[in-house]
Structures are given as C-alpha cells and as structure tokens.
Symmetry: C2
C-alpha cells in the first residue's frame, strides 16, 4: 500500500512539474518574451496543457485513487490528499474532450470580439460571441451538476463549496450595510489627496517596492520581482515564487500597493510545504483564501496608520519634494480616500465590494435565465446608477472593462470580495491572538503576523476547506460583520463620522 | 498518405514544444531563477525530458516513420525529414532505459567529483568517477556500433558523420602547419595590447553590444539579450532566439566578442524555416556547422580590419579615455594578438586549434585503450609542453579546466575546430561570390553577407549533411587549407612575416 501512495505522489509530481513549466511559459510571455515569439509560445502552452490534462484524467490514475481512498494504512493527511485528488479527478472527467475544445474555441472567439469591442467602445460587437459563450456556460453548469442554482456549478470552479446559498446573505449585507455607509462618507468633509500625484522616479520606486517586500518577509532567495503590464504572482514551486509590479511615474501608489498585494499572495505560496509539492496539501485552498492573504497585507496592514508609522519616513526620504511637507495623518487619510468610480480595478476598498456585488447579481441572473445577454448592458448601467449614482458614459467605462467574461470566467468575481471579507475576519482574530500586533506593525516588525499566517493558514495547504479553515480560525463561517466593523472604525475616524 | 505525414509533423511539433519548454527552464535557470529554485527546477527538467524521450522513442512513432519512408506520394524534402527522423529514432532506440539512467547517475557523480577536484585543484579527486564514466562511454560506443574506431561512435553524437578517418588528416594539417606558424609569430616583433585593459562602464558596454547585434541583422522582434555567467544562445522557436553575454568592467573584449559570437549562432537559428518547426529540416545541421556561423562572425568578420573600419569610431566615442589616442591599425593588431596560454576558452584563434588538437588526441587514445584514465594528467601536461612549450602549473590550469568530460561529452571538442575550419572555407567562398564583400563590411553593411548565409546555409536546415553542405558551397569537404591561407595572410601582415 505504501508503494501505491508513492505512485500517487510521483504522478502528482509529474503533473505539477508540467503545470509549473506551463507557468514559466506564461511568466516569460508576460515579462521577457520578444513579441514575435507569441505564435509558437501559444502552441507550446497548448501542448503541455494537453499532456497535463491527459495525465490528470488517465484511467490508471483514477484506479489508483479509488484503490487508495479507503486504505487503512494511510495517515489522515494522506487520505485527505487522496480524497481531494479523487474529487478533482472526477470533476475533470465530467467534461469530455470535444466539450473542452468547443469551450477553448468559444473563448478564443469571445476574447477576439472583446478586444475589437473595446477598440470600438461598443458592447454590440462583443454581444454575439458572449451570447454563444453563455449558452455554453449554462450547458457546462448542467453537466457539472448543482444542488440549487446553476450559478453554483460555476462558483464552485473558483471557490470550492461556494454557492448562491452561501453568498446571497453576504452580498445582502454588503448592500444593506455598505451602500449607506459609503453615502454617509460622501456627505462628510472630504480629505485632500492631491499631493499623491506628481513625479516619482522609476528606479527609486523600484527600490522602495523591493524594500517593502523584503520587510514583509518575502524571501528573495526563493523569489524575484519583475515588471509586467498587469501585476501578478506566480509559483514554480514553494521555493520559486515570483511577483511582478508596474510603475507609474506620476503615481507611486500603483507600484506600492501592487508590491504589498502581490507580496501577500507570494507569502502564501512560499509558506506551502515543499514536501507536499504537487499534492493538494501542497496547494493553496481557493482563490478567496488566496485573495484574503493579498488583501490582508494590502489593506488591513498596508493601508493602516500603524504600517505607515514605520514606513512613512522612508517614503518621505526617497520622495522629499512630494512628501516633506505632508504630515503622516494627512498622508494616511489621502491613501484611504473613498470615492465612487466606474472602474473596479481602481476602486477603494469599500466601493470595491459594490463593483463585485453588481457583477454577482448580473451573473446570477444570467445563469438563472432571468436576464438575457442582450439586456446585460442596460442592466449593468442601471445598477451603476443605483449603487453608485453614476451614469456610465460608455462601454469601456462600463460593461467592457473586465476581461473575465471574455475568458468565460463566470463565477470568478465573488472571490475578490470573499478575499477581502476573509481578510477582515482573519485580521480581527490575529489582533486577538497577538496582543501587541499593532505595536509590532508600528515598529515595522511583521514576523509575528507572518508566523501567525504561516501557522494558521499557509502550512495547511488544502487540509481544510475554505469554510472549515475560517471556522477553525475565527469560530464562524464567512461573514461581513468583521469587515463592516473594521470599515466603520477606520473610515469613521478618517471621515470623522458619528456612529 | 498525406494524413500520415501530417501525423508525423504533429508528433514532431509535440516533441519540439516539450524540448523548447525544457530550453526555457534552462534559460531561466541561467538568467533569472532565484538560487533556491534549483532543486524543484531540476525535477521539472527531468520530468519533461522523460516525456520527450518517451515520445521520441514511442513504438507507434517508429511504425509511422517506417510506413512513410518509402512513400511515393511524398516530396523529396518530406522524404528527407522522414529519413532523418527514422535515423534519429533508431539511434535513440539503441540505448535502453537502464543504460540511460546509469549514464545520468555517472554524470551526476562525475560532475560532483569534478567540482570537488577543481576546488582542491587535484585531478586525483576526479579520477575514480572519470574512470567509471570512461568504461561506460566505451560500452556506449560498442552499443552504438562503429566502422573503424570506437571514438567514431561518440564523434557522431555531436557531429553526425564525423570520424577519425575524416578528422585525422585535418588535425594532422593543424599540427604540421599551425604549430610552426605560431612559433614563427612568437619570434616576430610583438604587438602592443596593453591598452585593451582598463575601465569600461557596464551600461555603456551593454549598449555597445546591443548595437553590434542589431547591425549584424539579429532581429530583436524575435530575440533578446540578457546577462549570464557563461554566454550562450538558445532557441525556443525560429521566432524566439535569445543570446546572453557577460560583462567584464576591466576588459571590453569579453562582451564584444561574446555578442558577435552568440549573434552568429542566433542568426543561424533565426534563419531556420518556421514552417519546418520541429522537423529535421527546421533544425541546425550539427555543432560544427553551428560553430562555423559563430566563428565566421566572431573571427573572419569581427576580428577583421574591415569590420573595425566601420565600428572603431563608435568604440572610440563610447570609450574615449581608452581609445582616443590609439589608431585603428594598432587597435586591430592588438585584438589579434597571438599568445600561447593554458586555458582553451581564453585562446586566440590560432592557438585555439592546438588546445582542441590535444583533446582530440587524448580522447582518441582513451577510447582506443592506448591511454589509461590514470595516465591522462601526465599525457595532458606532456602535450601542453610539446605543442605550447608550456609547463602546466596545476590541474585547474590543466586537465580540470573543461567541464566536458565531467558531462561525459567525449567527442564534443573537435566540433570547435571544425566550426572554425568550415568558417574559413565558407568565408573564402562568400568573398568569391560577393565581389565587394570587404567594401560592404568596411561600410558596416552586413546584409549581403547575411543573405548569402541564409541562402547557402540557414534555410536548408538538415536537408544536407555537414559534408554535403560544405561540398555544395565550396566544392570540397572539410579542409584546413582555407583556414591556413586566411591565417597566413592575416597574421603574416599583422606580424610582418615573410612567407
């Protein structure tokens, strides 16, 4: 039986080796590849993806997993691996090859149409391809099966176990509690943030970002940072986890928060167990939990007053022209400015949830059939008016802003909000568990927090589901309460609100 | 039958996709990978190599090739591909998996021993591992079979068709003609080259190198340059061919000639037909022909007076302190200084052949059994005394300088000399075919030369063997005559010798 478990880990390692090679092909494409290399690179990624898929769905692998799943000789961690691998195996066997190829073709067509539609700032160009893709996604939901709502089948792809049943109350709370709170902030005396824009030398920004990453505990012996158009984190093993950033010479914020955000993702990946490489216990739980790590560092830590007590003098030193005359409290308020806008990726940490809420509601209605794709733009614009009191000026600032639907990633958006909500829950608990956490952060010491994350989250891989993990750590499942408490305290003070 | 040929190219493409992914894993390792990533990276390379090997030796692939090899429906280029793929297939089937694994283990042990031996500057530490490895290589030669000399079986691995029968006359000529000529140069009035060393800013060197590469015709839309410890060229497709260089701030030569040398390799790879990606007709012929391209650019072009007539003023401009007071003829002589030394990789273009000659003679004797591995150091030092009149001071400057034997690459060294000899033959022919070639080069125009190389060499891939190609272009097989003529003319003038 031991030999069988070894066969299992060897097979997992093989699939992981191919998967991480694909990751390197992607990383290189985003970071260093000459433009002309694109065509052959696409073919190389497709070939390796095909091989990985074959190995993941091999009948012999299924037999091995079924043989092992009731083994009495295995430790519970081993059994958990088998259980999760079998679950993933059965899921991937549900879709046959023709269906997968059809999806890839629809994706390619939708992506091209989306590009074209953006260039012409016209949703109608995207519409026919999106309609076909939605029909396909509905079929996919049926094939994958679901308990209550077809959207559940897709949510589960990005956040295992997530469902309309779980998320409706959460987004209800967002709507009930956050919309009013943001309106209250809108009526308060606004903060000055004009000094955040100016001239910020590229090299100085780069060095400042590296320093922040190092201080967080990101280990450059097992990682590196590069420049790319869109910042991302990518892992080739827990011993080679890379981040990218972008630098805007007119605005230091872009680089700063992308460094801290991606650093949060990277610390999670660097904290996975190397000896579990390739198995579920060596992998992150879900997109939501992953995002909780990036958001916790970016917002709960990186946008806190305590954080900048330790780092603001450094920033003043490297950009004296910009910040020498600005006191810390003013700076702190500026970086936490709350302001409604059209674009999700540029939103502050409160308005962000409303952007996600809109997408959640639209995706749910599309999947249930209540809303038709042809009516999606009107519904989009209506919701932006309802929630933000904003009239969407054109499709680029509206329905065409995100790539997700062109990728067929229905069900992805909610994980962004879930991450931020989990982050608030985890951070509230960390504050309880670590008495002097604020003090440590004021002194620029993040080790105690990183250790807490390592012990409570990173090291476990997929030993627990997202929900189980959250309950183990905080005693309850996902809940908007912690986030709202955090928001009221932080922004109540910044905007001088009475509760 | 057409469908079969398509199956063939699809299979080739699959193998190539994996091979080029492995290449990217290697490139990244040399250029950007954080040190800590090494262990998992080795595993990833091994996994992909295993898959590529399985596909290359699949029975079904052999059947396909055997079905296609006598097809009357195929064009001659297609038949040539099948013929070459079948040849490669049969070769790779000769060694069974156990034997290959044994070799990998011996290589790993020999490499470790070589590292240790170098650290301690003592060949005896390397000896036991090398002895075992040589026993293995002799067995390998027997398995691979050969006509006359066991060394032939290994030479063929790096330069298909190369043999002792072909190379003995060439190295005889090197010995007879070059040793005396170098001695004559040694007695002549020596050139001043002291001004070549100094302070050369890194960034300025980097930009100068990029400019040289661009002028050669290296296309940065389909390539890029990075820094690595040892310069190399690597291809991920004819549309993504990368070079690396290194920069020595005390000596601009290191960067300059590595750029031109690797640029020559890269132009070959960029000149292969994209539509033949993965097939033999889309691949370089041999190491010798590859090296002919790098050497032709590095030495015949890059170390010529004509080349520097076009480029010296640029060099003077970027490094005025160093070169403003030095006239071109003095500079030209300095960069062509002939001087015996212990280290192959630092040798000038004449002495280089003697370093290779020594290794050729030693490898031949080892493979025939005339020389024992335990006596290799003594034999090495004796030959350095005979050919260079130099007493090897220690093993680092002697038998431990090259990594090749630790890699088991017996038979590799001769391709370096072959490249240089082919280069002289090709360049002599190019001068005949292009009446104003010198003039063009004096004006910094290399397009006419690159076109000539594209038409005569690059585009063919493996359509012809190295020997056939050489005969097609020059009317004769490999011969030292052209090189010696080139050497006599060039260095006769530099050292003011009477012939």
């Amino acid at each position: 039986m031991k030999i069988n478990y070894t066969s299992y880990t060897a097979h997992c390692k093989k699939i992981a080796d191919i998967g991480h090679s694909i990751a390197l092909l992607h990383w290189d494409q985003e970071v260093y590849m000459p433009k002309g290399g694109a065509a052959f690179r696409a073919g190389q990624i497709a070939t390796l993806s095909g091989i990985a898929h074959e190995l993941s769905t091999a009948e012999s692998f299924g037999e091995l997993l079924n043989n092992l799943k009731d083994s009495i000789d295995l430790a519970s961690a081993q059994l958990r691996n088998i259980e999760l691998s079998l679950e993933a195996y059965n899921k991937s066997k549900k879709l046959n090859t023709e269906f997968v190829i059809e999806g890839a073709k629809l994706q390619s067509a939708a992506f091209q149409a989306w590009i074209m539609a953006r260039e012409n700032n016209d949703y109608n160009i995207f519409l026919p391809a999106l309609e076909k893709f939605v029909v396909y996604k509905k079929r996919e939901a049926e094939i994958r099966t679901y308990q209550r709502h077809p959207y559940d089948a897709l949510l589960d792809l990005y956040e295992k176990g997530a469902s309309v049943g779980q998320l409706d109350p959460v987004f209800d709370d967002i709507k009930k509690q956050l919309v009013g709170f943001i309106a209250k902030i809108g009526k308060a005396k606004q903060v000055d943030f004009s000094f955040l824009k100016g001239d910020f030398d590229k090299d100085i920004q780069w060095k400042f970002g590296l320093k922040l990453l190092k201080k967080m505990g990101y280990d450059f012996n097992y990682g590196r940072q590069d420049i790319s158009e869109h910042p991302f984190t990518i892992s080739f093993s827990p011993q080679d986890v890379r981040v990218t950033t972008r630098i805007d010479e007119k605005d230091f914020q872009n680089m700063t928060w992308s460094c801290i955000h991606e650093g949060g993702h990277a610390l999670y990946e660097q904290g996975l167990k190397p000896e579990q490489y390739g198995t579920p216990l060596g992998a992150a739980i879900s997109l939501g939990i992953h995002e909780s790590q990036s958001r916790l560092w970016e917002n709960n830590v990186g946008r806190s007053l305590s954080y900048w007590k330790a780092n603001y003098s450094d920033l003043q030193e490297v950009f004296p022209k910009q910040f020498k005359g600005i006191d810390l409290p003013i700076f702190y308020k500026a970086i936490n400015k709350i302001e409604a806008g059209f674009i999700r990726t540029e939103a502050d940490e409160l308005n962000y949830h409303l952007h996600v809420l809109i997408r959640y509601e639209l995706e749910k209605s599309i999947m249930s059939g209540e809303l038709q794709v042809k009516d999606l733009r009107a519904a989009w614009n209506e919701k932006y008016y309802d929630y933000f009191n904003l009239k969407v000026p054109d499709d680029k600032h509206g329905i065409l802003q995100d790539i997700h639907w062109a990728h067929g990633s229905f069900g992805y958006f909610p994980t962004y909000s879930m991450g931020s909500i989990y982050a608030a829950q985890f951070y509230a608990q960390a504050k309880k568990d670590i008495k002097d956490l604020e003090k440590q952060i004021e002194n620029g010491n993040y080790k105690i927090l990183l250790d807490w994350l390592r012990i409570n989250i990173h090291q476990h891989g997929q030993m627990y589901t997202a929900d189980e993990l959250c309950r183990r750590i905080t005693g309850e499942g996902i809940s908007f309460t912690s986030f709202m408490k955090y928001a009221r305290e932080k922004f109540g003070e910044i905007y001088n609100l009475r509760n």
